[in-house]
């Protein structure tokens, strides 16, 4: 990546990372990148401690039941697959929505197509928000799981997950929240909100590196591991040890990445997630207001910035999103993400399928100048 690039693709992964994240990974790699183990040599213990520290940090940040309930994963997709494939049984009914990413759509659809589960998909409203009452109506006696995103990765619209979680808890089903766009950006309290499964990447708002993610498994959940193997501890048992988190963590984890994630969590906590969110949203609001009235631009989703994360999506008459993306990249060195953003259903609902949209998404290091550059570029291109 050219350091001159104006990076506005933070919904895909945040960049740059805080300096402390780079340093933590460098230090870890040089000094203690051994295979973790609970009873091994001192380097193995140091490695294990990174995992423990990160679990404690996550549990504090999200007010979970216990650090042991956090299983590290490769990314959010991995966490969502672990939850969906580990929890559902033949004959179960699942409620999901048209806002979901393919990391939710695809595992659910393939289970549905193989005849193992039934699915009800709830549509969001025109602005891109779910009505919890629509979800309440979809429950059947067989409903096992509700899967819902905390914020749309296309529209940035924040969903009423607290209300949806409460309704789900009353029905006795489980709820899996995809916090890909919100973990580290919006407050999530597992203590106050009855969320059973929380999946998120480490490399977005938590500021860790790619290759990190986690799944929180609440006490009500019965789950099967979808990956089995060595755990660095109990080697006697013939099958996967049942104690958390090792039950779900076969194989050597990405400890170097998690050392970076741990530094990222510390950084986010020090900055204050509220402050980061406000910073990003004030830029997003400015961007949205500046371009909404440009000729041929159509903004997607509602623009009430008190109920959004800093994602600004739009289409341009006469220019396909991929073309605009390439123009911004090749002529202005601005990185945005064009296309369907792996969320085809919401593009269908917004009548932007299959071309998709242009998505600019902000991170904690973006500045007013970055936004002005994008506004200026759009004006220049549309003025042609």
């Amino acid at each position: 990546m050219d350091l001159m690039t104006i990076y506005l693709d933070n919904a895909a992964t945040t960049w740059p990372k805080p300096e402390s994240v780079y340093q933590a990974m460098d230090k870890f790699a040089r000094e203690s990148m051994a295979n973790p183990g609970r009873s091994g040599h001192s380097m193995a213990k140091a490695s294990e401690k990174v995992l423990e520290d990160a679990r404690v940090a996550l549990n504090r940040l999200f007010e979970g039941a216990s650090p042991d309930r956090w299983a590290f994963t490769l990314n959010c997709t991995d966490a969502l697959n672990m939850a969906i494939k580990g929890v559902l049984n033949d004959g179960d009914h699942v409620i999901t929505t048209d806002l979901e990413h393919n990391s939710v759509n695809r595992p659910i659809r393939s289970l549905e197509l193989s005849g193992r589960i039934t699915v009800t998909k709830i549509a969001s409203d025109e602005g891109g928000t779910l009505d919890p009452q629509e979800i309440a109506k979809a429950f059947t006696p067989k409903t096992k799981l509700v899967v819902v995103t905390h914020a749309s990765n296309v529209l940035g619209t924040v969903q009423p997950v607290e209300e949806i979680a409460r309704i789900t808890r009353e029905s006795g089903a489980l709820i899996l929240v995809d916090a890909a766009q919100t973990a580290g950006l919006l407050p999530i309290s597992l203590d106050k909100t009855p969320i059973d499964l929380l999946a998120f990447p480490g490399h977005k708002a938590l500021m860790g590196p790619t290759g990190t993610g986690a799944l929180y498994i609440g006490p009500r959940v019965t789950i099967r591991p979808w990956r089995e193997g060595g755990t660095g501890g109990d080697s006697k048992t013939e099958t996967q040890p049942t104690d958390y988190p090792y039950f779900l963590e076969g194989g050597t984890p990405n400890i170097m990445g998690i050392s970076g994630l741990l530094a990222g969590i510390k950084w986010v906590t020090q900055q204050g997630i509220e402050k980061i969110h406000q910073h990003e949203n004030s830029l997003a609001k400015k961007l949205s207001e500046a371009i909404a009235n440009l000729p041929g631009i159509r903004m997607l989703g509602h623009q009430d910035w008190s109920k959004k994360v800093a994602t600004v999506s739009f289409t341009i008459e006469g220019l396909e999103p991929y073309e605009m993306g390439n123009i911004l990249d090749s002529s202005f060195a601005i990185a945005i993400r064009p296309g369907l953003h792996c969320a085809p259903h919401i593009h269908g609902a917004q009548s932007t399928f299959p071309d998709g949209a242009v998505r600019a998404s902000l991170g904690p290091f973006n500045t007013e100048e970055d936004i002005d550059a994008l506004i200026g570029a759009l004006k220049e291109v549309l003025g042609e």
Binding site: E323, S331, L340, P354
Partner: protein, 352 residues
Amino acid sequence: MSKTNWELTEADKDRYSRQMRFGAIATPGQTRLKNARVLLCGCGALGTVLANTLVRAGVGFIRLVDRDFVETSNLQRQVLFDEEDAAQGVPKSVAGAKKLNQINSLVTVEPVVAHIDRGNILELAKDVDLILDGTDNFEIRYLINDAAIKLGIPWVHGGCIGSHGQFMTILPGDTPCLRCVFEAAPGPGEAGTCDTAGVLGMTINIIASYQATEAIKILTGKLEAVNRDLVYLDCWENTFRKIKIAPLKGKVDCPCCTHNRFEWLDGEQGAQTTSLCGRNAVQIAHAKPIKLDFELLTKNLAHLGNVSSTRFLLRFSAEDCDFTVFPDGRAIIKGTDEPDRAMALYARFIGH
């Protein structure tokens, strides 16, 4: 590289008798040809002439690689194909191999339907004595050069456009390599392509015949006879120029043959393709951005009659595909979801 040690049979001696009477070849040379293995990159204009000549000359094994299918517009210069091949749309390497088997069943022709890229070239080249350039783009030529230098295999470059063409023989460790002479490829849109500037069948036959002659010299071990110049000729303007490149060997600080940095094999140079999800389109971008001259490209593509451009993009349509090209050389090609086809179309209409 040849592992075989076949002797000539009576059938060989009869078939190749005129060639064997040529003193520099004779029985030892013909025997070497029988045991020789060649990788021929591309089975188009140069490729079909090269294959035709070498198969008739008794080169024992030829691996013929091309990803394209025969079309009517190939028949003007691609000598192994006929109207039926074009009507059936047979892969060029398959149609070529079939015809070559009819021409000479004593040798082996192995057709491979594939786009040559950094993922397969070392495998394609690992067991041959010589690589021949029958391609139509610089990207693959630099890749061939990397592979040839890395593996220590001689290769013969050839290229044609309009009525002019050039060829050059590369003996690793002995002569300058392609990068010693042409440090960088002409940028897309700069050099013209056979699809924009056209090409004469006669030019092809002349250049390929020179390449084949170089091939026979190398395969028979007559390295002293190898042409060590870059030869450039124009059969319409009646010009023939020999450019002395031998002194460049060791004098230029060549990344490839001096420093063993194989930038095309390692993906530091060249184009990357991405299939755009669900769009029946492929995006092509260069590992190192280049500067595209829209004015020149518009002129080169004028015959298509549908070129339009702004400062930020240039659009045209050809071969049932819509092209959107950007100033740094990247392009979106709509109408195909095959990266290989998109690359071939890019090479044909934009260049490289």
